[in-house]
């Protein structure tokens, strides 16, 4: 085994007390790396690890263990997600040389429509009028799909890693332990392999994290909440006609509901609900709202049986998502609050790959070079909590809600307008900018004064705009 230095320590590993110097654990030619989980985080890690290693003339063996078959529709390939690749991630991937092909992107989104109870819908376009948000299916398609027209997003990323030289092994890892100071995995069918570095990318929606308990790490999994996602088949023509290339966001004052959106895909529309104890009753109440009904064909009724799930999402990151020779990337480590989980997977996976190639693979290396990227996300999530608190306040308070709608409508009327509120909402709903940036922009005196004016003007019965019809409705 070509390894720079074997770790001289007992089987027990703790991330808090690394027993070796930072520089003593490094990947070398022939080092073996195992990636447990082949979703976006696992694929990004494998891809960039191999890419950077190649640049450094480092030859690595990377084995990705992922039991899912991304060519099979339904739960067999689904990674339970709304399926949005954010505007910022699409741009960054383009600069990384990763283009998302038409066979994967079911719809490029260029705008969003803001729906509020009692107000006309407001269609908000980006200044560039460019499709920079990708609506995808993480798997090969929802349960019950008749014809698979688009490829799985996760499957596409996995193909990229294979093209870089990774080996995908379609087996489930059921046990992880130490063997002579190196991580050792055992698959369900009894295959046992030892590696120099282990990257865990198992998300938070399977029982796979239990497999890592045998390592005795200081790692504590992230805190999670449940969201609700369902897929409705409308057909391409109807999706185009009723939803277009826009994400539809609803600011409703409904008990237990924090955020709701309809995302148009190819033949399907994806419903994403975020809130507390979302059940069938709340889903039916949401779908019955007139503003939601208008996004569907007039005679459409939700079928009795449709593909839906209640996946977990992170609300607080993991503790110590690293140790000597072990790193946790993506959702099982640290993610973004409510939005852009795939973007967070990219960031943490890239940070882990950069650290592994350029710095080392000890806990100290990960703490110094990988952990800051996670902390940045975590700190931004705290600001994100405030942003979503303000959003919920706007949802609840009629005058504030009407003021926001009025302000955004006014911005959209003027081509030359700076569209400050539109930008704030766009980034909040799409997850395209850090929350601290969104909060700073929303606190700009021009935004606050304009919002205050629009709230007051909205309360006056004879103000010009209050008498207008739906000029921006879809």
């Amino acid at each position: 085994m070509a390894l720079a230095t074997e770790r001289p320590q007992s089987e027990r590993n703790t991330a808090t007390e690394p027993e070796v110097e930072a520089s003593s654990l490094k990947l070398a030619n022939g080092s073996r790396v195992v990636v447990v989980g082949g979703g976006p985080a696992g694929s990004f890690f494998s891809y960039f690890l191999l890419d950077l290693a190649e640049m450094m003339d480092l030859s690595l063996q990377v084995d990705v263990y992922e039991p899912r078959d991304y060519t099979r529709p339904g739960p067999a390939s689904c990674n339970t997600c709304g399926g949005i690749v954010s505007e910022s991630l699409v741009q960054i991937l383009a600069t990384e040389g990763i283009s998302l092909p038409e066979s994967v992107v079911q719809r490029g989104l260029d705008s969003y429509v803001l729906h509020t109870a009692g107000n006309s819908a407001v269609h908000i376009k980006t200044p560039l009028k460019e499709k920079r948000i990708a609506a995808v299916h993480r798997g090969a398609g929802p349960r019950g799909i008749k014809e698979v027209k688009w490829r799985s997003f996760d499957g596409y990323l996995q193909e990229l890693t294979v093209a870089k030289g990774a080996n995908v092994i379609r087996k489930r890892v059921q046990k992880v332990a130490w063997n002579g100071g190196r991580p050792q995995i055992e698959t369900k069918d009894g295959q046992v392999e030892s590696y120099d570095l282990l990257a865990a990318a198992v998300g938070v929606n399977t029982g796979a994290l239990k497999a890592f308990e045998g390592l005795g790490l200081s790692y504590k999994p992230p805190k999670v909440t449940r969201t609700y996602i369902s897929e409705f088949l409308l057909g391409h023509e109807m999706v185009e006609k009723h939803l277009g290339n826009a994400m539809h966001v609803f600011l409703f004052d409904m008990p237990r509901l924090k955020f709701s959106a309809l995302i148009p895909k190819g033949d399907y529309v994806t419903l994403c609900l975020l809130g507390k104890d979302i059940d069938g009753e709340l889903v039916r109440e949401f779908l019955a709202a007139p503003e939601v009904r208008r996004c569907f064909p007039p005679d459409w009724e939700a079928p009795q049986d449709f593909c839906h799930c209640s996946p977990r999402i992170n609300i607080e990151g993991a503790i110590e998502p690293f140790a000597d020779r072990v790193v946790f990337v993506g959702d099982c480590g640290v993610s973004r609050l409510y939005k852009d989980g795939i973007g967070a997977a990219y960031r943490t996976a890239k940070a882990a790959a950069v650290t592994s190639v350029f710095e080392g693979i000890s806990a100290k290396d990960f703490r110094q070079h990988f952990w800051p990227a996670c902390q940045k996300l975590e700190n931004d999530n705290k600001v994100g909590g405030l942003v979503f608190m303000a959003t919920r306040l706007v949802q609840k308070l009629g005058p504030a809600r009407n003021g926001v709608v009025r302000m955004v409508s006014g911005e959209q009327e003027k081509e030359s307008s700076k569209r400050r509120m539109s930008g704030v909402l766009w980034d909040t709903f799409t997850g395209s900018a850090p929350y601290r940036d969104i909060l700073a922009r929303s606190m700009h005196p021009a935004v606050l004064s304009s919002l205050a004016w629009n709230i007051v003007a909205g309360l006056l019965p004879f103000t010009k705009k209050n008498k207008r019809g739906d000029e921006h409705g879809t």
Binding site: V90, T95, G97, V105, E130, R132
Partner: protein
């Protein structure tokens, strides 16, 4: 990397200018599909500096030096281009400097090409 047809970005028609020489730029561009020509005005004439294809980028100089666009870039046939915002790009580079490796590699290639052209021109002048 060989790129498949993309569903994202913006389409430009043949001959349409994507950036104009002298304009202030706050973004760079990645070509998703098709080709562009890079033309620099020199007096009355325009000199074609390069033809760029899928996966290549342009407009990065204005992102780094905040100067005006040094050349005009036009679509050669129908072309699909992704705009990369300056703030998004620089913010990400500050977090992950390795993102700049690809840009540096491409720019190094361009400097190498320019050196070769300059050497050729100087050789011709001596003759």
């Amino acid at each position: 990397m060989s790129m498949a047809r993309s569903a994202l970005g913006k389409w430009y028609e043949d001959g349409e200018a994507i950036v104009n020489q002298g304009d202030v730029g706050d973004c760079m561009f990645v070509i998703e599909q098709g080709e562009v020509e890079v033309v620099q005005r020199s007096g009355e004439n325009g000199v074609r500096l390069a033809v760029l294809g899928e996966g290549e980028f342009f407009g990065e100089m204005a992102v780094f030096d905040r100067d005006v666009r040094s050349a005009t870039v036009r679509a050669l046939g129908k072309v699909q281009v992704m705009t990369v915002d300056r703030v998004t790009f620089l913010r990400r580079i500050s977090e992950d400097p390795s993102l700049a490796f690809r840009i540096i590699k491409k720019m190094s290639g361009r400097i190498r090409d320019l050196n070769n052209e300059l050497t050729g021109l100087k050789s011709k002048t001596r003759e």
